[in-house]
Symmetry: D3
């Protein structure tokens, strides 16, 4: 590999630039000289927040279009916890594609035995349960706890830190020993939550980008 590998493209499939900005900020520590650039983008065609099954399915084709248009990248990350279009993007891409939920859970499995997930909404918990069963890792999941907020609220609301702490504490008392933030909007709260609760807290976009870096650099 003589030339520098292309960027790792992190696509926020909702159209809320505040979420993209937040996650880009969370990725700053992974931007290293000598390593691939980490580029973030907002999916113009996405809804303002992906908060339902239909929202999630609606972004699959736009995501595939981005994947097809960007043959310059060395890896892709889909930065929505529903992992919309993950399999379709993998089929369309010639480079590795990482999903935020998948990477976040796999990374958590290296940091604890029983994973607790802080979900955005009660409705999303059923979607996640099916996804975790599909992943074949249900035995390692302690449970999920919903904030019942919108994506935008989770990214900007003043009371988010408190709500995350309540959710995290409930998951720990249910047996979790590692937590995953179940929405890209929560990224800014990771470190404070980890310090407050004393267990590892995984920010899944960071986890996905770290896995992407490993796959590109090691290749």
């Amino acid at each position: 590999m003589v030339s520098r590998p292309g960027p790792i493209l992190v696509i926020n499939p909702n159209s809320n630039p505040a979420v993209t900005e937040g996650l880009s900020h969370a990725l700053d520590p992974l931007r290293l000289s000598g390593a691939p650039e980490i580029e973030t983008m907002t999916l113009a065609e996405g809804p303002f927040g992906i908060e339902s099954q239909i929202d999630s399915d609606a972004v699959v084709l736009p995501l595939v279009s981005v994947v097809r248009a960007r043959s310059d990248v060395s890896a892709l990350v889909i930065a929505c916890y529903s992992d919309p279009g993950l399999e379709a993007c993998r089929a369309a891409a010639s480079v590795p594609v990482f999903g935020m939920q998948e990477s976040g859970i796999l990374t958590a499995l290296s940091r604890g035995d029983q994973v607790g997930v802080i979900a955005l909404s009660t409705a999303s918990i059923a979607r996640h349960r099916r996804y975790l069963r599909r992943m074949g890792v249900s035995e390692r999941i302690a449970g999920e706890y919903a904030l019942d907020m919108s994506v935008d609220e989770s990214a900007r609301g003043a009371h988010v830190a408190e709500a995350l702490a309540t959710a995290g504490a409930a998951l720990l008392s249910g047996g979790a020993d590692v937590l995953v933030l179940g929405c890209a909007g929560m990224a800014a709260h990771r470190r404070a939550l980890q310090e407050r609760l004393g267990v590892p807290v995984v920010e899944p976009v960071q986890a996905a980008v770290a896995m992407a870096l490993g796959s590109v650099l090691g290749d």
Copy 2:
């Protein structure tokens, strides 16, 4: 994080410096300016190759001693596919500890659906099977295939490439769509094997160090 984080210490628990050298070389692409140093060491007290359950158990206390002595590190990687002493080192350390088998398998789960593992020996396959069951990911394992070589042979033998290709092909025809190299000694063969077989081949020490980098940088 004002000061630079300490190094990521990668411990080869066998006493064969050729294996340490090989894996250090495999980690070169993950050595980045701005990121933690990646330091490798050979465990003086280790056997020349960890090739049995007793070999694996024998290095646990020496590993714990290293962990206790090195409070300067920001993360630890145990670079033997048996993940000897992983839980003991986690209990002894105040930083994240990554096992090679655990990280290799978790990383493979982000690159394919059914994982095939190229094991050093038939005897190790039973150990791995118990370990994978303990991880709770057996549904995602296509199988293992043994080279029946010593660690040293796998790191230096002339015919290793051919043996790996035979093993890999057998695993693919058994349903695997991603491969894991089941010994640190095989690291140098990763890229060639991946190109030859056309599926992702995960080198688990690289995978563990990438996860360690993610945990340190994101923290």
Copy 3:
């Protein structure tokens, strides 16, 4: 229930009218006086055959549009073995929605212990494996065997009967005691295959419509 319930709408998400005709014919025995009408339709927006992950994801929004437009129906059946859009249609509908794969597998579980699936293509087997894991029924699956045909070929090809018999026999020798036809196009071959092999052969669109009838009539 004073008024007659609305029709059960069976949507073929590909745009091949020969497939719709074939499955409508297969549903004739389930058209009963006193029971809901069974209406079939071809999805104009669908590809000629759903033969990839992207094909499958591409029909989700058009299916949701149909669901939203047809508030007169009493139940819906998605007649493609990939069950495209099943969760999205369920979210959009106020009546029960049945998927062909889900219903076919569940019905097969009442006819035998180990299910063998005759898949259209090798590529689809990986998709089905993930789906079956998501369903949580993997312990009851003997395996899948691919014909490696197009949807259209499976619906009309002269040599389909022979290929199905070969596939079925391979699945039986691998432990299956009940078979499922893994594409709506194969419907016409069910009875002959069952008689030839001597085990139950489930046609999944029939299975889905029978479940739909049960849910509507019993309601």
Copy 4:
């Protein structure tokens, strides 16, 4: 199949005619012109209610005798939630045999993700747990909740509706999103309970007969 298929025989293995009457009434909507007759019978040799393991085992041979005597039927349904003699009747019959628990659970799996079962008695819950494990679907079961009533009481008691609502609400708060009535005696309460709780409620004898209809008509 030129001649009309034989009846679907629904056998109530207890000797309480009030239960048979209740379930026959619940099956009225599935009696369609052009479809097989749905015949119900009370097993004279059965106990007044099947309320223990021994009650359940005691009816196996009498059920097998009925099966052997009725070569005119096109399918059989065993209408007791313990599915007594299901495997023995399958071995004795040349037509499909459906069990009430098996069919009820499989049908529920098409209507929700996590199944809650309203059981007659605490003692029966352990039996059901073993049965569900045998079915290989435990990952999809939210739990069971016992009424602690006799079969007869569940079929006729004035306070049954209230007890069912309490049980159902407890199951929903434990994560269930679809309910199954765990005794043939409860059939008359299905619709009211479904309307009250707002989730699908499956009456398993209806479910078994719908599956039987599908197998006979589609054959």
Copy 5:
């Protein structure tokens, strides 16, 4: 416990006295002074060999009658690999009841990781698979291999030793590292088979009686 505990009653549920004699002989080493007597009996009402689901179900009530009549025993063992009536006998007894399959498998799980079972007939393998799933131990089963003999033949045939060796070797090459003899009739061949194949071979009636002894003596 001032008085000597009652005998451990081992019931052969078939009516073939040669099988009872063979298993009584196999139990001689477990007859110890100071320990409970080990009494064997042949179930007069049993078929000559339990070779089908109906055979197995037919002995349940006769077994329950024996259990009820023998209040003097300290434990019971049902000596047929199908474990007929195990739950019914447990419900009827006030002392521990052990099944031959259950005890044989549990004991094998302490002697190896992957259990291979030598079954009497192909038909019985499906029954065993359901039973093992019900036990929740399927992950530890390598497979079953059928002799396709009658019970009587397995107890007396001249060529049984050779057939067992063939079956055992097939199971070992399929991954088993411990074997279970899947019929009480095969008891006399245990030691020779173990010596020939070099892996532990569990005779399940011995295993059940050893568990019974442990429960009685330790009580």
Copy 6:
């Protein structure tokens, strides 16, 4: 086997003789004339109590040394609930080796459907969970409840009986129908606890020795 088999050696891997004495006393009922002697020993190199992962790993090599030195035994039992060194001792021994946790759980699976374990400490519960997953029997585990005592305290404390009853009752109300004492120190309390709670209580050293007796006598 004309000569009497060698003793069954039960090794207490901690160095607390009070624990060895207590378990030796619990084994008295299994000392039978005609059966192998049951010899207990205290591991001089062990810690005073095995109460952490490192304690458990630290005794592996000393245990292997004992195993290698004692070629006269007919079976070995490791009498610490963590089963330290079980696989290493099996690799070193030419006779069967039984672990206390493994044997206790397997024995409990023959006495009830859902096992509850009374653990010494909260920290040990995570270790046990991984071990039970490795065993592949998690579906049969109701849960664990910690006393949060030292090994020594559990063997001698005055209030142990009361604490065990509280723990046992909590496990029963969580669905357990059989209990396992999760530390060799608790042996003396087995019978009283069983009588108080009315469900079988398994003392795992007894269970392991009973399995050892079965394997030696039956051999």
